[in-house]
Symmetry: C2
Subunit: 210 residues, 2 copies
């Protein structure tokens, strides 16, 4: 029987590349997609298109974070558009990746999957603390101490790659990057000025030139 | 301003005692209650009665675990009734406390609370891995590495107490133990033979005699 994995899929460039990476490594994948009140809910359509396109079964989990605490959830706040700064931006969603991973862990344990893939990146990123390697090492300890399965591995293939390297990897794996959605604003077309648009476009520009 | 805390409240004896413990320590508390498909959904009524009785604001979060993986969620499975055994019983819900804590962490971070209280116990318990001290130490690392707040503390006042000690503490704090619900079966009256009933009744019997 092939190795089983749960892949966290947002519909963005990184998670899509991660899904293709996992498939390429021979994992039989199931995708987990979260509808958590993000203002760029539009990314869900991309996630579904990506999973469907490669015939990966997916589930959309709807969760509520009534306390918000992020400009990515609260439409009364403005999304920063002046370029990626230092520190943690207002788009950071408190404990989001901990929540996503905990559901993935429950799913992995219940279904017998041996790995959880997440496309976190700590190089060309928005500065979220839950995108850094030390967080994923800590989560691995959660699995060892708090579950029956104990041996499920968190795999973060992109964690130390630049955006350019991620885009190149995605193209090499024939991931449908054109289907993906990155913009935090979630309008009809990407705004081009939020952190996520800027990081993506910078990467696209460089890879187009190389 | 008083110290703020999030308290995970199931409606059982342990979490109710924990809520009273936190209040007694001077924390201004908010309770988080989960409707996660548990067959003893009846415990939610107890949780609401307990929180309301002490005028603690509460939120009920509805979450879905479509993969189940537990006799506490899947009504086609039987709840074990032959007494607390060794090992992890079928009532264990994969990653449940990781999920609960991750929401509590998000709430704490968004609201500025400095502590999360959970009534986990590793002495008179059903053998769940996510009720042991090493799991909570690991989760503390999640907070340090994966959040902006960093300093939120997980507090597990009951973790090394016997059920008798918990009941005595609850009574001393005037917690309304008669309102609480423990039975896994979730029928009209407690079944008396599931692990949770057995542990509770044993404790009640001993404290009645002492």
């Amino acid at each position: 029987m092939p190795k089983q994995a749960i892949v966290l899929l947002s519909g963005g460039l990184d998670s899509t590349t991660t899904l293709y990476y996992a498939l390429n490594k021979g994992y039989q994948c199931q995708a987990l997609i979260f509808d958590y009140g993000q203002r760029h809910r539009r990314e869900l359509r991309s996630a579904v298109a990506v999973a469907s396109g490669v015939k990966v079964p997916y589930q959309i989990l709807k969760i509520k974070l009534p306390w918000q605490g992020s400009s990515l959830l609260n439409k009364k706040q403005k999304i920063p558009t002046k370029g990626v700064g230092r520190g943690i931006p207002s788009t950071y969603v408190p404990a989001r990746n901990t929540i996503f991973l905990s559901f993935a862990l429950s799913f992995a344990e219940a279904s017998g999957a041996e790995a959880i893939f997440i496309g976190a990146n700590s190089i060309d990123y928005s500065g979220y603390p839950d995108c850094r390697p030390e967080f994923y090492r800590a989560f691995q300890k959660i699995i060892q101490t708090g579950t029956r399965a104990k041996k499920i591995k968190i795999i973060t293939p992109l964690i130390k790659m630049t955006k350019v390297e991620i885009i190149k990897l995605g193209r090499r794996l024939k991931a449908p990057l054109d289907l993906t959605w990155s913009c935090y604003q979630g309008g009809k077309v990407p705004c081009g000025v939020c952190d996520s648009c800027r990081i993506r476009e910078q990467g696209m520009k460089v890879t187009a030139l190389s």
